[in-house]
Each structure stands twice: as structure tokens, then as C-alpha cells.
């Protein structure tokens, strides 16, 4: 690595007040300006994919819920969709609607949480406490519906585990009204505050071209004007029924997308409103009927034991697309499981965003993609110390082809 005399290295992380999870950035800084960025992941790797191979189909759901505390619907959802896809299980309509409601409530609380974190990163603690205060309402609602504030244990293969009881409808409607009333005020605080604009406008810009080239997903991509949303592009659950659903974009409030931190904030604010409306739609059009295909776990596992094949599950997590690829091989559990988290896709965009930014922008840019390091840490290097290995694209491709062959050989899948 050639070192310029006018720059100095600044490494931030693995633990730093700006990051909620361990990740390490090595910057090359010229005064207050960043000229080069390097990232190092792997500090929260827990080998979940490996552990998943040792467990049965039902246990894996609860394991995957614990990949990350905020995406505790998204990961099981993608996994269940993948297994259902592989086994050809058709989920009852009512279960689809319940899944959608839980998923959207999770999105609402996740975006509120993000707003608070972002406000804290720019030193605006009042906004942080305000958003976390109003987030309590949806957390209470989730606790009422599922019994837990996080790790809801709501989903199962072929449906959901708990129904939304008639007495819950009123409370849900009340919660939705609470957020509808708050929407204008929250929007005003977030999008019209001068200091927030000073800290977020034209900071961490990801252009449309870069967003396409680096495969950004979720609100990060939508803020750059890329209309990309799994809920609309590959609809699952109740989303096919919601005809008015469109990817949120700063254009919705008459602003041309610039792909900066502020646009990501706009997109998330719009998505909160969207989530509230989606839950309202689901409550109004809730179909009757069963909530699960097979409620007995043993029977379900025995059924899945006969399946040979693979399935892909895609779901729009609050942070972007989460995809699970599962291979079923006539075993009690998945023979192979691969998790692709949204942060994994968006991390590459960080390098572009940090380019030319100031040191003061580091926390808010890092937070702007709503990173979930625990979701993205799917490997770690322990042999040569962290950061001791580097691969080119060809090498990585070769390695993945080799691994694929190895997996197919062990699974006996031709």
C-alpha cells in the first residue's frame, strides 16, 4: 500500500460509539477529508449457517430469528418462503395476510429505530428520544400480537403460529390511527429541520449509476432513484393484492432523488406511511380460514423429509432484499442454507459514499444504509488474522464454483 505524506490513517472500529455493531473501517484521511476507504467485517460471525445444518426444519426458524434482533421477521420469512418453494407448499390466504401485517409492523418499528439512531449520529438526541418514544406503540402492538417485543416466533413453514384475534383488530386500528396522526408532525421534524438538512443534504451521495452497478438494495437503492422493491418486483404474501403499492421515492413528495443521506431519510419516512397503509389494507381485507397447512411439527418435518430439491426465498426486509437459498435433501433439516442479507449488498456502496466525505460525516453515512452487521457477517478469517486475505473476483468465483460442487456431491444432487 503506497502511503501519501499528506494523508494519515484513521481506523474506526471494530468498537466505536458510532457503530452499534462491530465493523472496522480503515480510512486514509487528508485533513478532514476521506480519500480512501477499506472495510473489515467478520467480528460478529457466529457460524449460524453451519449450526442450521445440524437442526431440524422447525428449530432452524427460531435460530434464524436470532441472526439479528431487528430483522427477526425478515430472516424466518425468507427461510419459510424458500422451504415452501422447495417443497411446493401453498400457504393459506389468511396466513399470508397475518405474515404481511407482522412484516409491515416490523418495518415500521425498524424505520423508527433507524431514525433515532441516525438522529443520535448527528448529535440530535431529542429527535432520537422522540422517535424511540413513539416506537414504543408499535412495539406494544407487536408484543400483544406475538407475545414478544423482538424474536416474535410467529412464522412457521406453511403459515403462521398465531392468529390475529378479533379483539386485536380494534387495538391495531387504534395504533394505525396513532401513527397516521403523527405522520405529518414526524415528517415535519425530520424533513424540514434546518440542522438535519445541513448534516444530511448532499452527504454520502450514491448516484443512480453507482446504485445499479453496485447492486444496492432497499431504501438505499430507492433513494438513488432505483425503483427496486421485492414486495413489488417478486410479490409474496398479501402484496400481490395491494395494487397501489409502488416503490417509495423522493419523487413522491416532489423532490428529485439525489441519492444522499437525506433522500434515504425521505424514503424511510414514506415507507413508514406505506407500512401503516398496508397493515390497514390487510386488516380490512383479511380472508377467513386456516392459518397453517400443518400445525403439528413432527408431521411437518416428516413431510419435508421426503423432499429433495432446492428453493429460493426473497423478501423485502426493512433494509432491503433478504434472500435465503435452501437445499433439501431428504433429511430432518436443511442440507444447506445460504443467507444473503441486505447489508451485504449495500456494504459495497459504502466505499463510494465515503469518498470525499468529511470525518464528521462518517457516522451518519455509515448509519444511512441502516447497516445490520450481524446479518451480513457470514464468514470470518481466523487463520492469518482479520484482513489477512484478499481475493480477486475470478478467485472468488472459482472458490464458489468449487464449493457448489462440493455441496452437490455431499447432497448427492447429481
Amino acid at each position: 500500500m503506497s502511503k501519501s505524506t499528506s494523508t494519515f490513517p484513521l481506523s474506526i472500529g471494530p468498537t466505536h460509539p458510532a457503530f452499534k455493531e462491530p465493523v472496522k473501517f480503515s480510512f486514509e484521511v487528508d485533513g478532514e477529508k476521506i480519500v480512501r476507504t477499506d472495510m473489515d467485517f467478520g467480528y460478529t460471525h457466529r457460524g449460524i449457517e453451519h449450526v442450521a445444518r445440524e437442526r431440524n426444519f422447525i428449530q432452524v426458524i427460531y435460530l434464524l430469528e436470532r441472526i439479528c434482533g431487528i430483522c427477526s421477521v425478515s430472516h424466518p420469512m425468507a427461510y419459510c418462503l424458500a422451504v415452501e418453494n422447495a417443497a411446493g407448499i401453498e400457504v393459506p390466504p389468511r396466513a399470508k395476510y397475518v405474515r404481511t401485517i407482522i412484516g409491515e409492523l416490523e418495518r415500521l418499528h425498524s424505520h423508527l429505530l433507524w431514525t433515532g439512531v441516525a438522529a443520535h449520529e448527528i448529535g440530535f438526541d431529542t429527535l432520537f428520544l422522540h422517535t424511540w418514544d413513539i416506537r414504543e406503540k408499535v412495539m406494544d402492538c407487536l408484543e400483544l400480537l406475538t407475545g414478544n417485543r423482538v424474536n416474535y416466533a410467529m412464522l412457521t413453514i406453511g403459515g403462521v403460529r398465531r392468529d390475529i384475534a378479533p379483539e386485536h383488530y380494534g387495538i391495531l386500528e387504534e395504533t394505525l390511527d396513532y401513527y397516521r396522526e403523527l405522520y405529518n408532525r414526524t415528517r415535519e421534524i425530520l424533513l424540514e429541520d434546518l440542522t438535519v438538512q445541513m448534516r444530511c443534504r448532499d452527504i454520502g451521495v450514491l448516484t443512480y449509476e453507482d446504485a445499479v452497478a453496485l447492486c444496492a438494495v432497499g431504501p438505499t437503492a430507492r433513494a438513488s432513484g432505483l425503483p427496486k422493491d421485492v414486495r413489488i418486483d417478486y410479490p409474496c404474501n398479501a402484496y400481490p393484492d395491494i395494487e397501489w403499492l409502488r416503490p417509495a421515492s423522493p419523487r413522491d413528495i416532489g423532490k428529485e432523488p439525489r441519492g444522499d443521506v437525506f433522500d434515504r431519510m425521505i424514503v424511510r419516512v414514506l415507507e413508514m406511511k406505506q407500512s401503516v397503509e398496508i397493515v390497514g389494507f390487510c386488516l380490512d381485507n383479511m380472508p377467513d380460514g386456516e392459518i397453517v397447512v400443518e400445525s403439528k411439527a413432527i408431521k411437518l418435518i416428516n413431510q419435508l423429509k421426503k423432499v429433495k430439491g432446492d428453493g429460493l426465498g426473497r423478501y423485502e426486509a426493512p433494509r432491503g432484499e433478504v434472500a435465503h437459498f435452501d437445499i433439501l435433501d431428504e433429511r430432518e433439516g436443511p442440507a444447506q442454507i445460504k443467507v444473503k442479507a441486505p447489508t451485504y449488498s449495500n456494504a459495497a456502496a459504502w466505499a463510494v459514499m465515503f469518498n470525499g466525505a468529511e470525518i464528521a460525516d462518517i457516522p451518519i453515512i455509515a448509519a444511512s444504509i441502516d447497516p445490520c452487521i450481524a446479518c451480513a457477517d457470514r464468514m470470518t478469517v481466523i487463520k492469518n488474522g482479520c484482513g489477512g486475505l484478499s481475493f480477486t473476483a475470478e478467485e472468488l468465483h472459482r472458490l464458489s464454483v468449487e464449493k457448489q460442487k462440493r455441496i452437490k456431491a455431499t447432497c448427492g444432487n447429481s
Binding site: L10, G123, T126, R199
Partner: protein, 344 residues
Amino acid sequence: MRELLIVIAFSLGLLVLGIFLGLFIRGIDRKFAAYFQSRVGPPLLQPFYDLEKLMIKQTIIPENSVSWIFRGAPVLALASTSVLLIYVVLPYLYYLHGSSGPFLTAGDLIVILYLLMIPAISLIAGGFASGSPYATVGAQREVVILMSVEVPLAIVVIAVAWKMSQAAGGAHPFSLLTVASNPIWTGMGPMGILGGGLLVLTLMAVVPAETGKVPFDQAEAETEIAEGLLAEYSGKYLALYGLADAVKSLAFTALFVVLFFPHGFTDLTGFRIVIAGGDYTFALDILLFIVKVIIVYTVAITAVRVAMARLKISQAAKLFLITLSMLSIAGYLLIYLDPRISGL
């Protein structure tokens, strides 16, 4: 000789009281901030508990620090802020009491301007001596803040001194006694009051910058550079900085009060409080002074820090060097033009 001893005794007493009051006002500030953020907040005496805890904590001196500067900087910061507090408050108390003394004309705005810089400079020295990149970045930012804040602050002081030179017939225009006995608002037309208002606004923006609070806490910015200047400080030395911060906040808000709202109880109402032959006006004046300090503290520090995000260092420098300098110059011009316009 006896007078000198009395001054020394008063100064020491004032310092002890100042530290207590400074910490107590900090408690009030935290309680108010908690109220604005719909929290319960810590007890009023939390700053005292924090101090007590820091005093019994281990003090770590980083290996690659310049040890004597690292140790000396907090002491210097506390010493200079203590002198600042005495310089600002003691002459004012003499004035309120109506007595004369050798210290009466000692409080000089120019000296105070320099005294204000010393705590910041010792913070910077301590930061650079810490040998940590975070502290270095913090120290660089503190230098920028220090340099940019001086400009509007100096203009405000010059404007006040100019007004004093008019009001007091040219005698000791920079003396705090003159400022206190001739409130800036007396004999002002509407234009002058507008000008004075602009000066108040400028000084309001300077208060959080001088005391290192949001939106001008770039040098400490927790989420960006992990408390920056103070990153390597711990235990007793951190406690000293905490004390220096509390005393400086108190001294600066007191300076604000003396510059713009020096009116004592008698000035406001025109009569004195005499109960059973004893004159309690002075006690009431001190109480009024403390209330005024708390109000200024709450408005200029607490309300601002809960309502704003932290600015970037470039934005803060631009704000002080351009916007607030312009604002204070406009205030000065309005005050300057006021007697001429009103005289027509």
C-alpha cells in the same frame, strides 16, 4: 493590606460557591433537557455524584502521551476558569453591594477575553498531548472553533465598550463596573434596542461554542471521534475537566448577564428591602443574579442543545466567521447610529 486579605478571602469563598453552583446548574440543565426529551432525567445532584465517582476511579496516563502536558492541562483549565469566574463575578458583586474596593475596577473585558481562551488552549494542549488520533482530530477542531468564535465575541465586546465610552463619558469603557452600572439598554432608541438584540443573539450563539455544547461540540463529538479531546482522559483529570467545564459555563453565563442584564433589584424597582432594620437588598440581588444566570443557561445552552443537531466543523466556522460576525457588526452599527438618528 486588610482589604487585600478580604479580597482573597472573598475570591476563595466565591470559587467554592462557584464550583457548587456550577455543578448544581448542570444538574438543572440535565433535568430540563430530560423534560424536553420526555425523560425523567437524573437527580439534580447527579453532577456531584459523577464527580465523586470520577475522583475514586483509576487515572490512566496513556503511554505515548506527553505526560507533563497531559497532567498539567486539566489543572491549568480549572485554574484559569476559576480566575475567570472571580474576575467576572467579584466586581459585579462589589457593584451590587454598593461598596468600593481595590478590586472594583479590576474586571476588564479585554482580560476576560484572554482568560476565556486559556481553558480552550489547555484543552487543545491536553488533546494534542494525548497521543490519540481521536484527541488530535478533536484538538484541531477546537482550534478552529476557538479562532472563529473570537471574531463575533470581540465585536460584541467592542460594541458594548463603545456604548460604555459614550454613557460613562469615556472613563474605563472596558471595565465591568462601568458595564454593570450603565446597562446597555439605557437611553436607547428602537434602533439601538434592535442593535442590542442582535448582539444578544450573537452572544447566545457564542455561549454553546465557548462551553462546548451541541450544536458546537465538534471537539468532543461522541459519535464521531469518541469524545475527541477527552478521549484519553480518565479519573481525576477528567473530573478536573468536568469542574472546569461547570465553572466556565457559569462564568460565561454570568458574563452574559453582566453585559446585557446587569440590573439589580434596586435598579428595577427603585426601592430597597429593609426588614427589622437590616438591609436585605444585597441578598435579594444575589438571588436575582443566580436566577438570571439559570435563565440564560437554560435558554442559551439547554434549549439550544436539545433543539439542534451537531454542525460540522466547516459549517460552524462559516457560521461564526461570516453570519454571526455580520450580525454583530450590524448590531454595532445600529447602536452606533441610534443616537444620531434619534437626535435628528
